[in-house]
């Protein structure tokens, strides 16, 4: 691009170390959560950079990021709540509302679409009784469309939790959920 709109602000002042006064959320995060967040801190130049990792760590244990969780993480990393909220709402893998115990990410990108992804989506909706973005009544599954999962030669695909399922068909969807009452 030929034009310069503004000089990108890239130098970030180090967060000034303050006298630790326990905040209202001092006891909110568990020792395990704090230990895992602390493990990430030396890997980056600023505490701000740990925000995304910290949210993912806490989400791993709590399922989603509630307002209190957000405030606790912000306090722990000395970030403003607004700043961390901006981050939390930007990224698709951070949930600001409750999700099921397992999240079903079905790929809705082009190769899966060509190979029948729409039919897979319809079958998932029928089987789970929910639409994309919803959670089953028993709190087990949330159905979410996801960007191309990078397994296009095995389309259509989906990921349940961390588990990939490939070459999907209606038959295969039935097999995957066989024995469950979802």
């Amino acid at each position: 691009m030929a034009r310069t709109i503004e000089k990108a602000v890239t130098v970030e002042p180090e967060i000034i170390a303050r006298e630790k006064v326990p905040g209202p959320y001092a006891n909110y995060l568990t020792a395990q959560e704090k230990a895992e967040i602390d493990h990430e801190i030396p890997r980056y130049e600023t505490k701000r950079a740990v925000g995304i990792d910290a949210l993912k760590i806490v989400q791993k244990y709590r399922g989603w990021i509630s307002d209190d969780t957000l405030k606790a993480v912000a306090e722990y990393l000395s970030l403003s709540v607004a700043e961390l909220e901006g981050v939390a709402t930007f990224y698709t893998l951070i949930f600001r509302e409750p999700v099921g115990r397992q999240v079903i990410y079905y790929c809705d990108s082009v190769s899966c679409w060509i190979m029948g992804g729409e039919q897979v989506r319809a079958k998932l909706e029928e089987h789970l009784g929910i639409k994309p973005g919803e959670t089953t009544a028993d709190g087990e599954y949330t159905l979410i469309p996801i960007q191309c999962l990078g397994d296009c030669d095995k389309a259509p695909v989906m990921m349940v939790g961390e588990q990939m399922h490939r070459h999907l068909s209606c038959e295969k969807i039935r097999e995957i959920f066989a024995g469950e009452n979802a």
Binding site: T10, T46, I94, S111, W113, Q119, C152
Partner: protein
């Protein structure tokens, strides 16, 4: 050993990662030892530049030349960073996943050599959050590399030290744009930055930073071990080396193959991918992922070279092709792509944030038979609005590529939908997958 397919020489049919012992037994870490013992950092940069390795993330810029813009040597900033862009999310692209899951040490060795070349003190692998297996295997391999003295302080007994970390991202296609990626690594919203300054001068935390694609970095150890002449000789035509090419869609044998640069599209689709499935004809294809222009059957004999594909009016992009067959609605395919880009816009620039949802809506109307001829002009107007230079980054211009080529190539199909008032193709919900 000089393999003709260096990138995949450790990758077998089973989905397991090469261990450090297997990797070393097959010539692994020889390139690193050679670089550290016989070459100065600048020699590494010049060797890679001479090899004419071009960025495999899609842009095709000479990698060594990109590195040469980093201020190096005495008086340069002491802290510099190397970042591997492993945010593979281009629709229809599935090559970096393979390289990371199956041969993580190849990427790690490439990164250590590259960091030595640009004098980086710390390196990050920025991997998309959905690639759990790849991230796990990389983290395990990084531990092995530390244990063997390839990472950490005084690597291989030299003065060179490097730390390498995996950063698991939290989603969003825009993170693959290199300046957005740097913002994401800094813990910010992934809005792209204005360039200049370029990351090589002022990147991560304002320090000189190089961002390279996974596949690009995987080439480095081989270039250093075997020399630039050998590397250039691997290519069939104007471009050097080999490349992972892939095909998805209604072909008999979809997959990924390491082939010489300059391999013809016909060979990739008809020989390696086995040709079209019975009952389907090739109508068109995107040569290198979702943000490249459509090409047609008349382009099958072109070589997969950056410049040859560019001259035909498209881009080689990631080299993973998406095939459109004659039974799939081209309007539906473009609508799917535009929905992707509309969703993935970071929301910063107006033509992208507001233009793409509008495009998606028009295409949805046309696909459902509710469109008008006048709307085709509106789509062309949107393509013009999203042209390069009108937005901060390349997301909108990339989205415009399949759209602008579809408007030309599929004009008859567009008019067909409008005149009939319905989609002449079978609905996506009922197609293909068996009951």
């Amino acid at each position: 050993m000089k393999a003709s397919t260096p990138l995949t020489k450790n990758i077998g049919p089973e989905n397991i990662a090469a261990t450090i012992e297997q990797y070393q037994a097959n010539g692994g870490y020889a390139g690193l030892k050679k670089a550290l013992s016989t070459m100065q950092p600048n020699d590494v940069v010049e060797t890679v530049q001479a090899a004419n390795l071009r960025g495999r993330g899609g842009a095709g810029f000479n990698t060594g030349l990109k590195w040469s813009f980093v201020p190096r040597g005495e008086g340069s900033p002491a802290t510099k960073y190397l970042v591997c862009n492993a945010d593979e999310m281009e629709p229809g692209t599935f090559k970096d996943r393979l390289l990371m899951e199956r041969d993580p040490h190849q990427l790690i060795e490439g990164m250590i050599i590259s960091a030595y070349g640009i004098e980086a003190v710390r390196a990050y692998i920025f991997i998309r959050g959905e690639y759990h297996l790849a991230a796990d295997r990389l983290e395990h391999a990084i531990e092995e590399a530390y244990e063997h003295g390839y990472l950490g302080h005084n690597i291989c007994g030299t003065k060179f030290s490097l730390d390498l970390y995996v950063h698991r991202s939290a989603g969003n296609y825009i993170c693959g744009e290199e300046t957005a990626l740097l913002n994401a690594l800094e813990g910010k919203r992934a809005n792209p930055r204005a360039k200049p300054p370029f990351p090589q001068v002022s990147g991560l935390w304002g320090k000189p930073t190089v961002v390279n694609n996974v596949e690009t970095l995987c080439n480095i150890s081989h270039i250093i071990a075997n020399g630039p002449e050998w590397y250039r000789g691997l290519g069939k035509g104007a471009d050097a080396g080999t490349k992972l090419f892939g095909v998805s869609g209604r072909v008999k044998n979809p997959g990924t193959w390491e082939l010489p640069m300059g391999t013809s599209i016909r060979e990739i689709i008809e020989l390696h991918a086995g040709g079209m499935q019975d009952g389907y004809k090739l109508k068109a294809f995107l040569p290198g992922g979702g943000s490249t222009d459509f090409l047609g059957p008349e382009h099958l004999d072109l070589p997969m070279d950056y410049d040859a594909i560019g001259k035909a009016g498209s881009r080689m992009g990631t080299g993973t092709m998406i095939i459109l067959d004659d039974k799939t609605c081209p309007i539906g395919m473009v609508r799917n792509l535009m929905r992707f880009f509309a969703k993935e816009s970071c929301g910063f620039c107006t033509p992208c944030r507001d233009g793409l949802p509008w495009v998606e809506k028009i295409l949805t109307d046309i696909e459902q038979g509710k469109g008008s001829v006048r709307e085709l002009d509106q789509l062309a107007q949107q393509v013009w609005n999203m042209r390069p230079g009108n937005t901060f980054c390349a997301l909108a211009p990339g989205a415009a590529e399949p759209l602008q080529s579809a408007l030309k190539m599929f004009r008859k199909e567009f008019l067909d939908h409008i005149e009939r008032g319905c989609c002449p193709y079978e609905a996506a919900e009922t197609r293909f997958v068996g009951a």
